[in-house]
Symmetry: C2
Subunit: 575 residues, 2 copies
Amino acid sequence: MVMMISKVEIRSGAYYDSVILMQLQRELAALPDVIDAGVVMGTEANKNILSQNDMLSPEGEAAGPEDLLIVVQAPSEKVALDALRQVDELLTRRRQGADHEYRPKSIETAAEMAPDARWALISVPGRYAADVTRTVLNLEKNVFLYSDNVTLEDEIAVKQEAREKGLMVMGPDCGTAIVNGVGLGFANQVRRGPIGLVAASGTGLQAVSVRIHQLGSGITHALGTGGRDLSDAVEAITAFQGLDLLRRDPDTQVIVLISKPPSATVAEKLLQAARLSGKPVVVDFIGYASPSRRVENVFFATSFDETAEMAIKLASASSEVAPSKEVDSSAFASAQRYLRGLFSGGTLAYETLLILQAYIPGVYSNVPLKEELRLPDALVSQEHTIVDLGEDEFTVGRLHPMMDNDLRIRRLEQEASDPEVAVLLLDVVLGHGAHPDPASELAPAIQSAFETASKAGRHLEMVAVVVGTDEDPQGLDAQISQLEAAGAKVWTSNEAAARYVGRLIQTLSPESEIPTHTPVDLSVLKDPLSAINVGVESFAESLSAQDASVIHVDWRPPAGGNQELMSILERMKGL
Amino acid sequence: MVMMISKVEIRSGAYYDSVILMQLQRELAALPDVIDAGVVMGTEANKNILSQNDMLSPEGEAAGPEDLLIVVQAPSEKVALDALRQVDELLTRRRQGADHEYRPKSIETAAEMAPDARWALISVPGRYAADVTRTVLNLEKNVFLYSDNVTLEDEIAVKQEAREKGLMVMGPDCGTAIVNGVGLGFANQVRRGPIGLVAASGTGLQAVSVRIHQLGSGITHALGTGGRDLSDAVEAITAFQGLDLLRRDPDTQVIVLISKPPSATVAEKLLQAARLSGKPVVVDFIGYASPSRRVENVFFATSFDETAEMAIKLASASSEVAPSKEVDSSAFASAQRYLRGLFSGGTLAYETLLILQAYIPGVYSNVPLKEELRLPDALVSQEHTIVDLGEDEFTVGRLHPMMDNDLRIRRLEQEASDPEVAVLLLDVVLGHGAHPDPASELAPAIQSAFETASKAGRHLEMVAVVVGTDEDPQGLDAQISQLEAAGAKVWTSNEAAARYVGRLIQTLSPESEIPTHTPVDLSVLKDPLSAINVGVESFAESLSAQDASVIHVDWRPPAGGNQELMSILERMKGL
């Protein structure tokens, strides 16, 4: 067995970018007789990795997250110490090798050198990233923020600031984007074509854009948002900007939206924005429960491959995505805007709630999709409400509403008296065991509800879903005729009824639900890409290789990365 | 305005079934001059409903949940009191009208009268339902338990008892089923055909079976489970029995599984049972995030309509659902069973986790699908593990694994040394910004991992997903060739790779994950339906109307429903 000695060097407050550290580690490990080497910042995670590889001595344990920790493993102390002695020389050699052309030291100088640069790529260590982003936003540049380990508070602050200015911040932790044919960060070389992407998932964006290319189509732009963008805290600021840009981009025929499961509230709002984009939108919220396969112009996919396939199909037949027939809501009084659904079937109610998510936010229920939408009192509707009258609470000593219409008839009258109610939705479930002729009781109740509303100068829309077969004892056609004769719009598909109601109610809802802000100028996508690169140098090289124009900033952290000195400088700024 | 007087009568400890109460209410309300009437058990919910209709006086408030509460609204006290005085007569008339044939008073007698009855329909009030179910199970009958308001503890107890006996309890709160062409509870008249249903959702079952009929196909059997069956507590006891029955039923060509979102653990196990059923299975877990559109023989639908459409399509082309190519796992040593995935792409890791759910339970990760599967230490794998090495924790002062392979190469060696590891999975993401030639470093590492395993007498399967285009700077084909030359199985679709790995790992997993118990005899579905009905009388009438044989039990609660007396009787039994 070979003798093994570990020697450690800790350099406090020194800043080197990650490429330099990786190269130093490789060069140390490649020195004659050296067994292994580690060159990392002394974070807990990094020390654990060293420890995993038996390279963490008690000396090394002492390194803090701001310290550079260098470990050399060798068969003798001499070899290890010799290796450590070469660190300075290796670092100097790297630095000289890189200095083949003039590099501005400040972002401001870079901005003067490249007045056309609309973008900045930022990949400095996380703790510096928000400050660099603010500097760039002040120079009116859009930001591709590759850096991770940025706080949520900083993310929110810089995105809000950008939105005010009509600028976009993709990221933090944005791995990839393709703007006007040029890949930023990690991006595949993908054919130009009719599909535009917005993605809160880096490899999701890459996997889908690659598949689109493999299948023979291509993309306009692919915009990253960073993984936290679709959280409640960040409110999808960047995703909304991206959707809006692609909506306005005449070359984008189909929009693809990719994310890990977003917050329910954000998902709802994004789907509504997608609905209103007027273009076919393929949504792949990986691991998200789709309300349906399709809601109007919004299509739901469940994998990267399927997302690409659906987008291509829609791009080649976008005329097939005809807008749904217009609904007529002109007859309603101005205060009328709410839906009230009175269901006897629990899962019919549930499916309706799911589908309506794509049309209107927040439907209250006694079987709600999320707890905050639970009706405080199932007997009293509020705003949009769907009640399952077959729930246990209603059936103690009482027949199920499929057998006994009494409760629904009373509630129907109650809802019809509410001046804010516009649409009433009922299910009528036929079959053995159910009421022998439900329409004979519901139709008069519907008529009476119409009269109540009409006396008060209001129009009502009454929608009924009849679940039954032509062989059911009640007679499907006879039930439908009775309901239609009373003035109800009858559907035999719960899904189709929910969509109809969704379209109708949506026209009555104020569209201000979709956040509107200073739009990002479409020219940031359309102009030839020009950027300032701050951080990982190879990203600049990659832009050059794609014939984009780029200026790399020879960035150093303030005070050389010394945290104490930085905070003194920070305090002096305030004076 | 009409004067309005409410008069109330409270009858303590009296039992009447819900049909009688509904009819009494209607008859009272129909008496001359009576304005409205309410006849309910005095639960809080029922009193709230009365109150909503302005029918709850302080007197009525005093009624408890065991009391029958009768309210009459009339223009004068005299009319109201006259109406109340007729209650006894109306009730007596009902009772006599119903007694047109001999009815056994006890379930035991009914069982003697109908020795062929394999089923009992139970729709007594919830608090009596578990006891009645136990009585029926002791008589070796299967149960359709319509009653709701049954406790979870009782549900678990009776289902476990039934399972031991090879009997089935559909419910509680099971609204519907179709057994051998006969509808139980609420059920539509649906054509016989090749599709069998298992549903934890009553109206879901009805909506899908109706749509199947409307589209020209039909069903074999439709088995309800009750809405709580797929919870962690109940562990889908009935759903597993249903799946197993339909798997064994030669007439069922396609199985449909419907539920509101099940618990993640139960969903996983059910999907694995579905996978192993050998028949095409269409899953509509309404509001559940499908792992994919299709996993082998399991297909995911997102609405009732789509579920029906997919099932019909599969039934008419079930030969298309060819079993996937067999994977060969014969070369592994007996201790080898685990997967280790080392990803650089977070969302690729996530999609893989989603898809693997359908093959194997519980993959640990630092980006887990559920918190209990979070790796305690991201640096140490356990059982099946997928690590995202691009997570923030790994990238402080270190390049992303798409640029720097060091971390993955070290981890690969570590995993290859683990005698329980069978399959290693890597993603290799190409494109601008990424490592200029990742395969040049990964291929030797793969070879070295093979050698490590081989020296220890083990076989390894090395799977790589390459995400890249033919125009990427690394050259897609060259990367693939290097990896293949090193012995890796290479895929360009993440989804396809995940499925392959899933099949492979599944063959190495003990199949005992799927609960096996006394199977329910297939003849309970195949014999002409014969049943005992306990509770709502109209369900017996409905069975007769369908030419099924049924005996209705003239059931009364013990001690006439008097709770105090019941508990005394209960205590005496124990003596």
